[in-house]
């Protein structure tokens, strides 16, 4: 009941006495009050009984019994007993179900007798306290529904419609029939009814103090009776117009009939309803009246139920309607000065007198007047204010309220109230309470002297309030009570209200109550007693030393982030680089283990794999011993051998990155990434898309966020669901920090969060960082910065959280219990790391030692036999390891030819523009910025392109193309050939076209690039290259410049197969340009001046080797002299043979090619591979690369290195001061070291550092590949490129004096770092003593190889000797790498 406590604390005067003394003390006030209540009770009792289907006088009878009899039993002095409107619905239902009329009435009485006894039982068992189980909103809902039913039933009575019309209609249909009733109304009586209703409703509005004292029902009677008489209702109207009362004395008697028991279901139902609802209403009344009592007396609810029960039984036997402690009359009693139980008594006495004496007067009352009274009661129960009041306490209260009303109206009271309770429990569970906690006492009380601590735990809700209440009742008065809310998840309105009463009572009794942590809970509405939910679920002790202060330096964090993210640009520009370049300032092992700890990558094999390699003999025991001795000293050998071979280790995997952001999942039980990433990747993919989508991202010129903002403003759709996010996006002060504040909360965690977030999709973040620094990697330029991408992701995160985590989600650090972590703090390496390091070293040196043993062997031999030979031709190759074998075969077929290795851009650092092309291509190593532009100025064959479109109108296309495509495809499966969509190494430049190499007399510039070289510049380039490679004299008639490129089909990574020294492009242009330069007469003249004479007979010829199809094509052959052309034709024969052999050597690795077949067949198969759509391994790329040899060719030309070595030609004799060495070494670490380390890391962790297997790849936006429509970009190398790779670091061997090498290296610190920090191993072969020296800790130390040297004179046999790998696991795959051999 809504509490009305306006008078609650007016007086602290003495409490009125009870019983006879009280009668004396308060006689007059109780008498007055009793009289006024009598006036109220009389008509209502008549009306309620009538509406219930009882004889009207039986209502009065009950009120009399309630007053005269129950007074002496009640435990609640101020309550007035009598019939209640709330029971009308139940009693009327019972009467009608039992057949109506007198029989119905009498059978109902039987129900009531039992119900009354049960009420007595309730009281005896002290069930009074259980009233708190019923949620107030449900009870209010039930009463409101009753109000509605009363209204529905009384409206026709008010209109004096024939009761026959109402027969068999439920409340809803009664309401629906109101228009019909109005059509049939009785005009005279309706006027009385209407006026009565106006009086009932309007009277409370009167403010006049004295008038207010007159009860409205009295007023209605005073009006209605005379009006009825005046209108002659008694005779002139139907007999249902006036009530029939009759003499009470004649009617009272043994009316009860128990034969209703035979209808068990109905009987029980109504017993329960009457007992339950009656008790409930009584108890609530008692509670409400206690609050109004100016003397703050506490009633005994159980005693009151007993009183009601006894009175009901008694009344029922005599024929009376059920009674309760009625709230309206009771409150009128209090307001009119009633002080003791005698007021109730007097009210009964007055009723008795009146009923006996003046009943004829009662018979003059029109039913319509009573209906008006009942309607006004109904309106009070279902007043709109009730609805708004509920809503104010909280929307969920309204929901319960409405549910109860609904079910009460459509089903019945019990179901109604049960549904309300059920809904409330469900709501509690949804709010986070567990089912269990709903029924578990949620209170712990600690008494400590004068202080009492009450800890409320988990959920304090109506269903477990009983337990709380009984604990509260045991608290002694007068102490200081602290109620602790901090461990509470949920407290509902019922408990809040009850606690409120407890506090009020307790403080009134002289105690003190302090609430702890209530403000920490969030109210569901602004109402002071609204239900509350915990913000903090559990209070966690912060760890000692916890510090969450810290500043966020945006610029620095973004810079660091770009630094650590993978640097890989768009796939068309695939360039190998050290995947862990960000750690390159550290020593190699420190760096990789640090990276492991931070990012969870694998940077070595696992311990078992090393042990298996050892068992297979692929790590030899003597090498292992040597590594241990070198690193740990001889005395540690035994211990380490044991540790490395036997000691059990487990690899743990708990990277630092991602630790903070993981908390989302714990907090909200859904995966943020699952919801954010798909849309994020889609948007960024579309934004950066280079030409897969037919409709491109419409607004990319002003940056990502500007584009999205414009879309947001100008489209009718949105990427976001949350209004807040849309507002944020469009607001002027949108900033990274602002978004971080919302999502992350505490500033100290911003950096950590951003790293977590961006590394959860390092592919996309990495490419954005790369585009930010090198925008030219996109042909279709897009404006983008990493910062905006982060902001977009944060916006999407807020969006998702707003959508799925509810409006009240908290930033991630709100409940944080750990200090912010610096992910890049120093990593301590444990024993496992030490062991892995030694294993990796052993694995590496096992191979190196073999190489060095062979090298030493050759070196010693070469000292003896040094005879000059007549060279047939010279061929300048790229240093690339894939050219190792072709060079070997050149020399094998034609022992008189000479091959020279130089970085494949041949000194010509250029940008190239094909004829008709709209873009330049950079053809030189990545760190160099070209100053020259070479244009193709003429072509024989136009570059062909095709248009394409898809979509709805693709229907026609698909009809036509389906069969064509499939036939073409079927043919290609069996006879692959070059198609337009295959990456053709020779297609970027027309083989018959012309280049503009020489600049005009006045050089022209285009976009800051000089078009062509001037003669002086050409001379410089030529001079530099020839001098560095010892080609200052003795050039042959034809010098081939053989660049390389690679053709492959269906291969997004084809760029990774092209020339690393040409920024991942075929090097043909450079070869051609360089040939042009050297053949230039003016250049030769200038060179002659410098003392470098190139004879006229010598001609340079540009060419390109396709490393996949094993073809070499030549450029500008027409410029050859007739003589040289002939010689070229001669050379071609040997070159083709060499290519055959090369194809054969490569084919041994390809399971699909049978190398025992004819060599032309093998060659054909190799060629087909390069144009086969179904071939994921057109070639093996740099797989197995491990060496870089810097020295003269004869030193290694007799060694079989199995395509594992880069070869840079260098003649120590012509370089006494190391200047050539410095020039030669310049690009090597970044090119060879970059390739080597990219392979190393992709091999060690193909999933996190490599791109995984190619087979499921999707091409995304023409810039990268993903595994999935909703997946991250996959930087790094695909599995098919690295599966046969032995992950060892590069060993560079230089043929030169050690001290000169050291001096030269140190003069270029950024290069020296590669060697000093161990990212590349360095060994020098000193020509002076033919001994080997290894760089260790910044100094050269003598190294003596201990391996046995393999000899073989049958290179082809050797190639054919190894088996096919069994699987691509390291233990199988690299078994087929052939050891180093010396042949001849």
């Amino acid at each position: 009941m809504s509490s009305n406590n306006t008078q609650s604390n007016t007086s602290t005067q003495e409490v009125p006495k009870d019983w006879l003394e009280g009668l004396k003390q308060n006689f007059s006030s109780d008498l007055t009050s009793g009289f006024i209540v009598f006036l109220l009770a009389l008509p209502l009792s008549l009306g309620i009984a009538g509406a219930s289907g009882f004889p009207p006088i039986m209502g009065v009878l009950s009120a009399i019994i309630g007053g005269v009899f129950a007074t002496f039993l009640t435990g609640s002095p101020l309550s007035i007993k009598g019939p209640a409107a709330g029971l009308i619905v139940i009693v009327a239902g019972a009467v009608s179900e039992f057949g109506g009329g007198t029989i119905g009435w009498q059978l109902t009485l039987g129900v009531m007798v039992v119900a009354g006894l049960i009420q007595v039982l309730f009281g005896v068992l002290k069930f009074g306290k259980y009233v708190d189980i019923f949620p107030l909103s449900a009870i209010h809902g039930m009463l409101a529904a009753i109000g509605l039913i009363i209204i529905a039933k009384q409206v026709p009575v008010l209109l004096n419609v024939d009761p026959a019309m109402m027969k068999g209609k439920g409340p809803i249909s009664l309401i629906l029939h109101i228009p019909e009733f109005i059509a049939n109304l009785d005009p005279k009586v309706s006027i009385i009814g209407a006026v009565s209703l106006v009086l009932m409703m309007g009277w409370p509005l009167i403010k006049q103090k004295h008038l207010k004292k007159i009860p409205a029902p009295l007023l209605v009677l005073l009006f209605a009776i005379p009006a009825g008489v005046f209108m002659g209702l008694k005779d002139g109207s139907p007999d249902y117009t006036l009530i029939k009362v009759g003499n009470i004395a004649e009617q009272v008697g043994w009316n009860v009939d128990f034969s209703g028991v035979s209808v068990v279901g109905v009987f029980i139902k109504y017993v329960i309803m009457v007992a339950l609802v009656g008790s409930l209403e009584s108890l609530l009344t008692v509670k409400a009246i206690d609050m109004m009592d100016p003397f703050k007396r506490k009633s005994d609810p159980n005693k009151d139920i007993i009183a009601v029960g006894v009175a009901n039984t008694f009344a029922a036997v005599l024929g009376g309607i059920p009674m309760i402690s009625e709230v309206a009359r009771s409150s009128a009693n209090v307001q009119n000065g009633g002080k003791t139980r005698w007021a109730n008594f007097f009210h009964g006495v007055f009723l008795l007198i009146f009923a006996l004496a003046a009943y004829p007067l009662l018979e003059m009352i029109p039913n319509a007047a009573l209906a008006a009274m009942l309607i006004s009661v109904g309106v009070k129960l279902a007043h709109p204010k009730e609805f708004t009041h509920m809503y104010k306490i909280g929307p969920e209260q309204l929901a319960i309220f409405l549910t109860t009303i609904f079910f009460t109206l459509f089903e019945d009271l019990l179901i109604g109230i049960a549904s309300g309770m059920a809904l409330k429990m469900v709501l509690h569970v949804l709010r986070g309470a567990s089912w269990k906690s709903l029924f578990k006492a949620a209170i712990v009380v600690e008494e400590d002297g004068d202080e009492v601590n009450i800890h409320l735990q988990e959920a304090a809700v109506f269903s477990n309030y009983m337990a709380i209440k009984s604990r509260l009742a045991t608290i002694p008065q007068g102490k200081h009570v602290f109620i602790d809310f901090t461990k509470l998840t949920l407290i509902d309105h019922s408990v809040m209200e009850n606690l409120h009463h407890f506090i009020e009572d307790y403080t009134n009794a002289g105690g003190q109550v302090t609430l702890v942590g209530l403000e920490e809970m969030k109210a569901v509405s602004s109402h002071p007693l609204a239900a509350r939910k915990a913000i903090i679920k559990s209070s966690i002790e912060l760890k000692p030393g916890f510090d969450s202060a810290g500043r966020f330096d945006e610029e620095k964090v973004l810079h660091d982030l770009r630094h650590y993210l993978p640097e890989q640009a768009a796939l068309k520009d695939f360039v190998h680089h050290n995947s862990l370049h960000a750690f390159q300032d550290k020593e190699f092992f420190d760096a990789i283990f640090t990276a492991t700890e931070i990012f969870g990558i694998h940077s070595t094999f696992n311990i078992n794999e090393y042990r298996k390699l050892y068992k297979q003999g692929r790590i030899r025991p003597d090498i292992l011993d040597r590594v241990i001795v070198d690193n740990k000293g001889i005395d540690q050998l035994g211990k380490y051998i044991h540790t490395m071979l036997e000691k059990p280790f487990t690899h743990t995997n708990s990277p630092r990155i991602g630790r903070l952001r993981k908390k989302w999942k714990h907090q909200y039980h859904f995966d943020l990434n699952d919801r954010v990433q798909p849309i994020l990747f889609r948007v960024i993919g579309a934004y950066l898309d280079q030409g897969i989508a037919i409709d491109h991202f419409p607004l990319t010129d002003n940056g990502l966020l500007a584009g999205i903002r414009q879309l947001e403003e100008h489209s009718f759709s949105s990427f976001f669901n949350s209004k807040r996010v849309r507002q944020l996006l469009l607001s002027d002060n949108l900033s990274l920090v602002h978004l971080l504040k919302i999502v992350v909360g505490k500033e100290a965690y911003y950096e950590q969060y951003i790293f977590d977030q961006q590394f959860s999709h390092k592919g996309w973040s990495g490419i954005i960082g790369a585009i930010e620094t090198t925008p030219e990697t996109l042909l279709f330029s897009k404006s983008i910065v990493l910062k905006e991408f982060i902001m977009l992701e944060l916006l999407l995160e807020i969006d998702v959280l707003d959508t799925y985590a509810g409006k009240k989600w908290q930033s991630i650090t709100t409940q944080i219990d750990v200090a912010p972590e610096n992910y890049f703090a120093k990593v301590e390496h444990g024993e496992l790391h030490e062991v892995l390091k030694l294993w990796q070293l052993a694995f590496e040196w096992d191979y190196y030692d073999e190489v060095l043993a062979a090298l030493q062997n050759v070196a010693l031999k070469k000292v003896k036999e040094q005879e000059p030979k007549k060279k047939s031709f010279q061929a300048l190759f790229c240093i690339d390891d894939r050219e190792d074998s072709i060079r070997r075969h050149f020399e094998y077929i034609d022992p008189n030819c000479e091959t020279i290795g130089a970085p494949g851009f041949f000194g010509a650092a250029i940008n190239f523009q094909a004829f008709g092309s709209k873009f330049y291509e950079k053809n030189c190593p990545v760190p160099i910025t070209p100053k020259h532009l070479i244009k193709e100025v003429e072509t024989k064959n136009q570059h062909k392109t095709e248009g394409s479109n898809k979509g709805l109108f693709g229907f026609v296309r698909s009809l036509a193309l389906g069969f064509v495509a499939t036939s073409r495809f079927a043919i290609d499966l069996y006879k692959p050939k070059m198609r337009p969509d295959i990456a053709d190494a020779y297609s970027h430049m027309d083989i018959h076209g012309k280049l503009k190499v020489e600049a005009d007399a006045n050089p022209k510039f285009e976009n800051g690039l000089q078009i062509g070289y001037t003669v002086e510049e050409m001379a410089d380039v030529v001079y530099g290259l020839l001098r560095n490679h010892g080609m200052t004299s003795g050039l042959t008639d034809i010098v081939y410049l053989i660049a390389h490129g690679s053709s492959s089909a269906n291969n997004p990574h084809h760029g990774a197969h092209d020339c690393g020294a040409c920024s991942g492009r075929p090097g043909a242009v450079n070869a051609r340009v360089f040939a042009h330069m050297t053949n230039h007469k003016g250049v030769r003249a200038m060179l002659a001046e410098k003392g470098m004479v190139i004879e006229d007979r010598t001609q340079f010829l540009g060419a390109m080797h396709d490393t996949a199809s094993d073809e070499i094509r030549y450029y500008d052959r027409s410029s050859l002299t007739q003589v040289n052309f002939k010689k070229h034709e001669e050379n071609l024969k040997s070159i083709e043979k060499a290519l055959d052999l090369n194809a054969m050597e490569r084919a041994r690795r390809f399971a699909s090619i049978d190398i025992t077949k004819d060599i032309s067949n093998v060659r054909q198969k190799i060629k087909e591979r390069s144009v086969s759509y179904f071939e994921p391994r057109p070639e093996l790329g740099h797989g197995t690369n491990a060496l870089c040899f810097v020295g003269s060719r004869p030193m290694v030309s007799d060694m079989f290195l199995d395509r594992r070595a880069f070869h840079q030609t260098y003649d120590y004799k012509s370089d006494p001061d190391g200047s050539i060495l410095k020039a030669v070494l310049g690009p090597l670490p970044i090119v060879c070291g970059g390739i080597n380390l990219e392979y190393y890391f992709s091999r060690m962790d193909i999933e996190k550092m490599g791109a995984g297997t190619k087979l499921p790849h999707h091409v995304m936006g023409l810039i990268g590949v993903t595994n999935s429509a909703d997946g991250d970009l996959r930087p790094g190398l695909p599995l098919q490129m690295i599966e046969n790779h032995d992950p060892v670091r590069l060993l560079m061997v230089i043929e030169q004096n050690p001290s000169l090498v050291l001096e030269t290296l140190k003069s270029s610190p950024e290069n020296y770092e590669w060697f000093d920090k161990g990212w590349i191993h360095l060994v020098v072969n000193s020509p002076e003593d033919n001994k080997l020296y290894r760089l260790e800790n910044g100094a050269f130390v003598l190294y003596t190889p201990q391996s046995v040297v393999n000899h073989s004179n049958n290179i082809l046999g050797l190639i054919g000797s190894t088996k096919e790998m069994e699987s691509n696991h390291i233990l199988d795959a690299t078994k087929e790498n052939i050891p180093v051999h010396i042949y001849n």
Binding site: I692, A693, P1052, K1248, L1255, M1260, S1268, G1271
Partner: protein, 623 residues
């Protein structure tokens, strides 16, 4: 000639079994076996075609042995071939043989080479069964095979997160299509009183059972349910978004499944069931509208996708939308031609999709014109931008599935989170015993109560399966709950007056065995110290591939996959639901759907996904 039809599916099936004899390294042997079975099919097809043409190209049917017979239903092995089936068969066989050839090199040295070919063979078997099925039951068997192989091939890279997640997502949707088909069978049973032979479909019209309560209802429901199944499998609105997400496996499997053969099967189903809805104008209008709408929405989506496979996927869906239109107009011949062309084209496009990078970039060097900035003013431009945003978001189709399908189920299941293991069993056993007793003592139970008992037990079952659906802790608990649910399901049927213990026996036989195998597998994992909770993926197949296989079989058995008699039992028992027991039917349908989801979920959580131990490479979640 009839016999050849029956033999066709046996070729790949035998091939599949032979493949199991080889280990993963015997790539050549596996490939040759696969190719030989395809050639077997091709050879037989040639003979069949010649004979067929000689016989005037009419439809051919084969009536095989009857697997189960009872008075109210029979389950026979029937095959049927007509022109449409023949065309689909030819296209499938050509594409399959091409893909096999392609895959030989493409999948070379992949860890799952054998797994790949096994699944492809199984898929091909299933496809042949669907194409040649002579009745709905046989068609359903093939249909299930397509679904299961889809699951395994989407999740082919089972050590990564996204493939597994998406496999689950797709198979969950497929489950809806499967159950729709099952309901179709059920309704047909009631409508026609016996199982339907496609060969006699034309003559069935009008020959209805007299006891059907509501004719117009059935008239509409039968085709509507087939339409639903077709919509899901052929990715029509609103189910379109699964196609791009299904492209997680090797390109070749994506090509054959989602580019060509599997995704068109809905169109085939509609053509097959044409007589059911031929005269149903409302349904045809619906079908056509769905087709048109899908064609438009999928086209708009395809146009803006930056990922090439996604684009091809949506383009293909758009074409299938048009096929729906043709079918709805009665132009099945046009649909089947369109299908052939589209299947060929999309398979081809997907297979060569990786080459788009070099191809387009090369062209761009010469052709690139930077597009003009899109204007933002005016209604038309705004509309364009709107369509762009919607297209990029796939018209919210994917989020919709999450929000309106999975999220509510999860929430419903979470309501029962208070049930722990003990309470579950305490709650499960007594009502079951009471129910079981009640079955045999029905005379004691008042009629009014008796009629509600099946619903009550179905509801119980539903609660347990919901609980299993959201169980996070114990795999074993969830697994046993499935069985409890199945027991309750069978209890539901026992109250039917035509109840036959033998049918329940059929139903439970497979379930009990599967449950035991499952319990054994889970316990074996647990004994070996592995985690068997369901709150994350464990990827146990990494270390226990054999156990993973065994458990997968148990899962298939438990889910009523046609490898155990459970399937027949399920079909029979479903047949006992009365026409007017819609609430019961609805509960059972929901139950069977959930049951499948739970089983696949348990399998995935235990055996698929990133392996938890840190000694080897594990891919990022997002990759």
């Amino acid at each position: 000639m009839e016999n050849i039809i029956a033999i066709l599916p046996l070729f790949p099936l035998v091939g599949l079994l032979i493949i199991q004899l080889f280990n993963n390294k015997s790539e050549v042997a596996i490939y040759r076996t696969a190719m030989l079975s395809v050639f077997g099919v091709i050879g037989s097809l040639v003979v069949l075609t010649v004979l067929w043409i000689q016989n005037g190209m009419g439809s051919v049917s084969f009536d095989g042995p009857i697997l189960y017979h009872s008075k109210e239903s029979e389950f026979g092995v029937n095959f049927f071939l007509d022109t449409f089936g023949w065309v689909y068969l030819m296209v499938s066989t050509i594409i399959t043989s091409l893909i096999f050839k392609f895959s030989k090199t493409y999948i070379h040295r992949e860890k799952g080479f054998k797994r790949f070919f096994s699944n492809m063979m199984f898929f091909y078997t299933g496809l042949l069964v669907v194409l040649l099925a002579g009745n709905l039951e046989i068609l359903f068997i093939g249909w299930e095979i397509l679904g299961v192989t889809s699951f395994f091939l989407i999740g082919f890279y089972r050590e990564r997160y996204l493939p597994v997640k998406n496999a689950l997502k797709v198979v969950s949707l497929y489950r809806i299509a499967d159950i729709a088909l099952l309901c179709g069978i059920w309704i047909c049973h009631h409508y026609y009183g016996h199982s339907i032979h496609f060969s006699t479909l034309e003559t069935l019209k009008g020959s209805t059972q007299p006891h059907i309560m509501n004719e117009s209802f059935y008239h509409f429901m039968i085709p509507a349910i087939f339409l639903l199944a077709a919509m899901v499998k052929s990715a029509q609105l609103p189910f379109s978004s699964w196609v791009p997400r299904a492209m997680e496996g090797p390109t070749t499997s994506s090509a054959i499944f989602y580019g060509s053969l599997s995704v068109h099967i809905g169109v085939f189903l509609l053509i097959r069931t044409f007589p059911f809805w031929e005269e149903n104008f409302v349904l045809r209008t619906m079908m056509g509208s769905i087709g048109v709408l899908t064609a438009i929405i999928a086209t708009l989506t395809a146009r803006v996708q930056p990922s090439v496979k996604t684009q091809i996927g949506y383009s293909s869906i758009a074409q299938i939308g048009l096929m729906f239109v043709w079918v709805s107009m009665g132009w099945s011949w046009l649909a089947i031609i369109h299908f052939a062309c589209n299947a060929f084209l999309r398979a081809y496009q997907l297979l060569v999709s990786p080459s788009i990078l070099s191809y387009r970039i090369h062209n761009q060097f010469f052709d690139f014109v930077k597009p003009k900035m899109q204007s933002t003013e005016g209604f038309f431009n705004k509309l364009k931008l709107t369509v762009y945003v919607l297209g990029l978001k796939e018209f919210n189709l994917d989020t919709m599935m999450f929000r309106f399908l999975w999220q509510p189920l999860k929430k419903a299941g979470n309501l029962f989170s208070f049930l722990n293991i003990q309470t579950t069993y305490v709650l499960a056993i007594p009502p079951f015993l009471v129910g079981f007793y009640a079955v045999f003592n029905q005379e004691f139970i008042p009629k009014a109560i008796l009629s509600y008992l099946p619903e009550a037990f179905a509801l119980f079952g539903l609660i347990f399966i919901l609980k299993a659906f959201v169980e996070r802790k114990s795999a074993l608990n969830a697994w046993v709950l499935i069985m409890v649910n199945q027991l309750y399901q069978s209890l539901t049927f026992m109250f039917n007056e035509e109840f036959d213990m033998q049918q329940v026996g059929l139903f439970l036989s497979g379930i009990l065995i599967s449950t035991l195998i499952g319990i054994y597998s889970i316990n074996k994992l647990r004994i070996q110290g592995e985690k068997v909770s369901l709150n994350r993926f464990h990827g146990h197949s990494f270390e226990h591939p054999r156990l993973a296989f065994v458990f997968a079989l148990a899962c298939l058995g438990l889910s009523g996959f046609p490898i155990t008699p459970t399937f027949i039992g399920e079909d029979l028992m479903l047949g006992h639901i009365h026409e007017n027991q819609y609430p019961l039917l609805a509960m059972l349908v929901l139950n069977i759907i959930l049951d499948g989801l739970v089983i696949f979920r348990i399998y995935s959580r235990l055996f698929l996904g990133p392996h938890t131990k840190g000694y080897h490479e594990v891919a990022y979640r997002s990759s």
